[in-house]
């Protein structure tokens, strides 16, 4: 499925070549080459994988990684919670029965806040799929220790986190480490082909756009009497900003990122409005149920972004762009269109039989590692994360947020050195509800 016979033959001979020449070049190069730049030369060696964050998505990403390459092995796992890790391991063991790809010894199953580093130490490739609040510290450590990385979006929940990821992204490039970010639309033909059409000047220059993630909302984890406040927030992480960053970031980043990607620039400012009208119960923590943001780009283009978690309202997860000569559209079923201003199709592409982008991103990552190439998604991942955070700053504060000022913000949401005795950064009020951001009053930087 992944490697048609033809490709694997070429790969094999290439690997043999590298293997044969490695001794020679290694012997000559070793004294002058810093150790860190050798770390990523893997070729035909078995790649050891560590999974950091064992939820449904992390387990899915591990599944895709293990399917992406023949010579890989999951050897370590880390999660804050033992039950999550065990259930994840159970599913992976079942999925890879009959292979030797899942081999996580008891001593390599790490639980708690310091688990991530211990698991990463054992691996060549790491999968970072905890709640996004922890991503910057995990990514920084992975880069410092020379790992190839798959990390889920978003890559931070606050601006200091974004800066940490940007700095580490630079270092990763220098060290020639592969970093794939789970903004999987970049690996989806629907988007790649549509952008090719736009680059071929089919609709002229993009001047405006609308991007949407309007849906019913996501899961809620009920508070259990035995849980500490910190454990409750970690389990029900979607509703706490230090962990999730609100749904404008956690989910809608996908569509905002498409705007950045298609315009090939990042916004200079954002302003917008939002609130919490329908989903108001205390089980929904502190996040809004709707945001509407206007992003202005250096070229003058303006992108309207809307995201909503309200049951019974219109669902729409898509992007539309107006160019000087026509309009580009995507839809959820995988199709892409270009239309002229009379509404006629200039271009139409059905994508329902396209390869699964969640698999493609891992196929590309491992092929790149094997071929000594470098994928560097982290800088864009950080900047699209920053774009969505600016949107949140705009809706929470009701003020105009400029990129140049916002990127300097020192407002930290995620505490350093957490352990199970730490007080979480937000606490419930007496009635069990949480402080809700209030436009005009809330300080965002």
């Amino acid at each position: 499925m992944k490697n048609p016979k033809k490709t694997s033959k070429i790969l094999k001979s290439r690997r043999n070549f590298v293997k044969n020449s490695a001794l020679l070049t290694g012997a000559i190069m070793l004294p002058t080459m810093p150790l860190s730049s050798m770390v990523n030369v893997h070729n035909d060696k078995k790649l050891k994988i560590a999974l950091i964050g064992c939820g449904g998505r992390g387990t899915g990403a591990a599944n895709q990684a293990l399917n992406a390459d023949e010579n890989v092995e999951l050897i370590a796992m880390a999660d804050a919670f033992e039950d999550r890790l065990k259930s994840s391991l159970g599913h992976l063991t079942e999925a890879f029965q009959g292979t030797k790809k899942v081999n996580v010894k008891e001593k390599n199953q790490f639980i708690g806040f310091d688990a991530a580093q211990k698991a990463m130490d054992l691996a060549d490739v790491v999968i970072l799929t905890t709640p996004p609040g922890f991503r910057p510290q995990h990514f920084e450590y992975a880069v410092k220790t020379g790992k190839h990385i798959f990390m889920e979006k978003p890559v931070a929940t606050d601006v200091p986190g974004v800066r940490k990821v940007l700095a580490a992204a630079k270092l990763a490039k220098e060290k020639k480490l592969n970093v794939v970010v789970g903004l999987q639309r970049h690996y989806q033909k629907q988007y790649i082909e549509l952008l090719n059409q736009i680059k071929a000047d089919k609709i002229g220059k993009i001047v405006s756009g609308q991007v949407y993630w309007n849906s019913n909302g996501v899961w809620v984890k009920e508070r259990q009497p035995s849980q500490s406040e910190l454990e409750y927030q970690m389990r029900n992480w979607y509703y706490f900003n230090w962990l999730c960053g609100d749904h404008i970031l956690e989910q809608h980043i996908h569509n905002i990122d498409v705007a950045n990607w298609f315009l090939d620039e990042y916004p200079v400012s954002a302003q917008g409005m939002g609130g919490r009208q329908v989903r108001t119960g205390k089980e929904y923590g502190e996040i809004f149920d709707h945001h509407f943001v206007e992003y202005t780009y250096p070229s003058g283009a303006v992108i309207s972004s809307q995201c909503r978690h309200q049951k019974g309202t219109m669902n729409k997860v898509t992007e539309v762009f107006q160019g000087t000569k026509g309009i580009a559209l995507t839809n959820e079923a995988g199709s892409a269109y270009l239309k002229d201003f009379e509404g006629n199709n200039i271009y139409k592409r059905k994508g329902k039989d396209d390869p699964n982008p969640y698999q493609v991103e891992h196929d590309k990552l491992f092929a790149s590692i094997r071929n000594n190439e470098v994928i560097s998604d982290a800088e864009n991942g950080a900047k699209s994360t920053m774009t969505a955070i600016m949107g949140r700053m705009a809706t929470y504060s009701g003020k105009i947020i400029n990129w140049d000022e916002a990127i300097k913000s020192e407002l930290k949401l995620v505490p350093d050195n957490l352990d199970w005795n730490s007080t979480p950064p937000v606490l419930p009020k007496e009635d069990g509800s949480y402080e809700i951001p209030m436009p005009g009053k809330t300080i965002v930087m």
Binding site: G60, A62, G217, V218, N315, K316, A333
Partner: protein, 323 residues
């Protein structure tokens, strides 16, 4: 109207009159306490029919099937109705129907998870048929609706589905064999503009059921077995059912907005497959949602309640409810 069609209508009228005496069932509207929504149920008389065709291997042989009377939903189940189950906000509103035939504990019934992505794929939810649901999800919806209303609802068996679709006809479609007329009766590849449509806009079948051909392909209760009909070569099948025990494949009937005319035939059989969860990025993949089956929906039937021991056969294994 051509002669053949008129003849068919005449025959149908006879057929329906002939069976109506045996059939005390009446059409009704199933209200759902706590909601303004209701489900139109059409009475289907008991009878005998020729199931299958000589077209595809899995439709052979054409054989005689006896079916007990039942009620079938006039339309494919909508998102609006399905959301009542998904959201579970009206469970506590008591049903005032005194004629409850079953008693099950609604609190014990597992709920479907809320999906991360928009499962309507932007094709609309308000008034549109539900899509991308799994066999388990459709079955548990039936269990929930039964607990809620006190009547026994489940997915139709393949035999019930085809009997209801044919409504006495033996032609390829319930309106005859002329494919050029299909657009008057069904949404399919040719006229759907690449999306599902609101139910009930096309002409119904002689029983008064809408969208049996096209719009959503419909899940049936049966495990798909290509050789299922071979067992009945020489004998009459009495309310046959291939009891579902595995997650795949299930028999899917009627064809969809995304299918060509052949898939829409009364006898056409299609099967569910794991590829319909292709783009679910999680492991384990959702039990409750497909990600790649925007053409897949269902309708329900009501029958006399079986014994409690048999519930599992029709609703699947009990799954502990997580809140």
């Amino acid at each position: 109207m051509n002669l053949k069609f008129i003849t068919t209508l005449l025959l149908l009228t006879l057929f329906l009159n002939g069976t109506s005496q045996k059939n005390p069932l009446k059409d009704y509207k199933q209200s759902i306490s706590g909601s303004e929504l209701s489900i139109d149920m059409v009475a289907i008389p008991s009878g005998e029919f020729k199931m299958g065709s000589s077209i595809n291997e899995d439709e052979k042989p054409k054989h005689t099937v006896k079916v007990n009377s039942f009620w079938m939903a006039k339309y494919e189940i909508t998102w609006d109705v399905y959301y009542l189950y998904l959201n579970r906000e009206i469970d506590n509103v008591k049903n005032t129907n005194p004629k409850r035939e079953i008693n099950t504990d609604i609190d014990a019934i597992s709920g479907a998870t809320v999906p991360y992505i928009d499962m309507s794929l932007g094709m609309g939810t308000n008034g549109y048929p539900v899509a991308n649901v799994t066999h388990l999800a459709a079955s548990k919806f039936c269990e929930w609706l039964s607990a809620k209303t006190g009547f026994f609802y489940r997915l139709p068996t393949e035999a019930e589905w085809e009997y209801a679709c044919r409504a006495g006809t033996e032609t390829k479609y319930y309106f005859g064999d002329d494919v050029s007329k299909l657009g008057e009766y069904a949404w399919y590849e040719v006229n759907s503009k690449g999306r599902y449509q609101k139910g009930g806009q096309k002409k119904p079948n002689p029983f008064g059921l809408y969208d049996m051909h096209g719009n959503m392909a419909e899940l049936t209760l049966d495990q798909y077995n290509p050789d299922a009909y071979k067992k009945y070569n020489k004998k009459v099948a009495n309310n046959p059912l291939e009891v579902p025990t595995k997650e795949y494949p299930h028999s899917v009937r009627g064809g969809s907005w995304d299918d060509d005319s052949d898939m829409l035939r009364s006898a056409s059989r299609y099967k569910s497959n794991p590829n319909w969860k292709k783009r679910d990025p999680q492991l384990p993949k959702s039990k409750w949602w497909h990600t790649d089956a925007p053409f897949l929906g269902f309708r329900i039937v009501r029958v006399k309640s079986p014994s409690e021991k048999e519930y599992e056969k029709y609703w699947g294994k009990a799954i502990p409810r997580k809140k």
